[in-house]
């Protein structure tokens, strides 16, 4: 297996670990982006097999990361405006009783 795939999956697992262990929305945003960076690394072996598909894969990944970052950033700003905190626990609405 390519070293890029191994590094990519380690980065993805590190990001998932960080998401699981934090309650801070900013850290969740950073961890999600770390998962994206891992996906970038894991995609690298495709470059020699099919460069065209690789380019479109990177393009789609960049677009996905832009949208997820903007949505999560808006969520952080809104949560802070409402609760003066970036802690997920501060958001009580929509929770099951």
């Amino acid at each position: 297996m390519s070293p890029a795939v191994v590094v990519g999956f380690i980065l993805i697992l590190l990001g998932l670990y960080s998401i699981a262990t934090t309650r801070n929305l900013v850290r969740i945003l950073i961890a999600l982006e770390l998962v994206t960076v891992g996906a970038f690394a894991a995609l690298a072996p495709l470059a020699s097999a099919n460069p065209g598909l690789f380019f479109y894969g990177v393009l789609i990944l960049v677009m996905i990361s832009v949208s997820e970052a903007s949505i999560l950033a808006a969520l952080i700003y809104r949560t802070y405006a409402l609760t003066e905190s970036t802690d997920v626990s501060a958001v009580a609405g929509g929770r099951e009783p």
Binding site: M1, S2, P3, A4, V5, V7, F9, I10, L11, I12, L13, L14, G15, L16, Y17, S18, I19, A20, R23, N24, L25, V26, R27, L29, I30, A31, E33, L34, T36, V37, G38, F40, A41, A42, A44, P45, L46, A47, S48, A49, P51, F54, F55, V58, L59, V62, S65, V66, A69, S70, A73, I76, Y80, T86, V88, S89, V91, R95
Partner: protein, 141 residues
């Protein structure tokens, strides 16, 4: 060897992203990891994807993440150990990269189609872990 060096730097900064306590240092480490992956793309002579990573991803997304981290959390303490570790890694990687630049390039190994099967299995494993993490986070929130 330069590819392994770049991937090791990306892994180092990825670990630093998770284990930095300050949000800004964590975000800067993340941008450095993304930069290392972009440099790896450039090393593979994939200049259009490297351009996408450097300009769109680091220039827009990483900027958003760093600014958000600076607004909410910011720098809580002087990161002496962080700067020492990153400077040492940067200097070591630069020295090793300059040394390897002069070495004769190794012949790239072609990707076999059979290599995709373990990647698919790992992808399924990551999807399962993601599902478990999602359920646990939802239960905790």
């Amino acid at each position: 060897m330069i590819d392994l060096l770049l991937l090791s730097v990306a892994l180092f900064f990825g670990i630093l992203t998770v284990y930095s306590r300050d949000n800004v240092y964590s975000a800067v480490s993340l941008a450095s990891a993304a930069g290392a992956v972009g440099a790896y793309y450039a090393y593979l002579a994939q200049f259009a994807p490297a351009f996408l990573v450097f300009v769109i991803y680091i220039g827009a997304v990483m900027l958003l993440v760093i600014i958000t981290a600076a607004m909410y959390g910011g720098v809580q303490r002087w990161g002496g150990r962080y700067f020492l570790a990153t400077t040492l890694v940067f200097l070591a990687a630069a020295a090793l990269g300059a040394f390897l630049w002069g070495a004769p390039p190794a012949k790239p190994t072609p990707v076999q189609l059979g290599d995709l099967l373990p990647a698919v299995m790992l992808l399924i494993g990551v999807a399962a872990v993601s599902l478990i993490v999602g359920i646990e986070v939802a239960r905790k929130a």
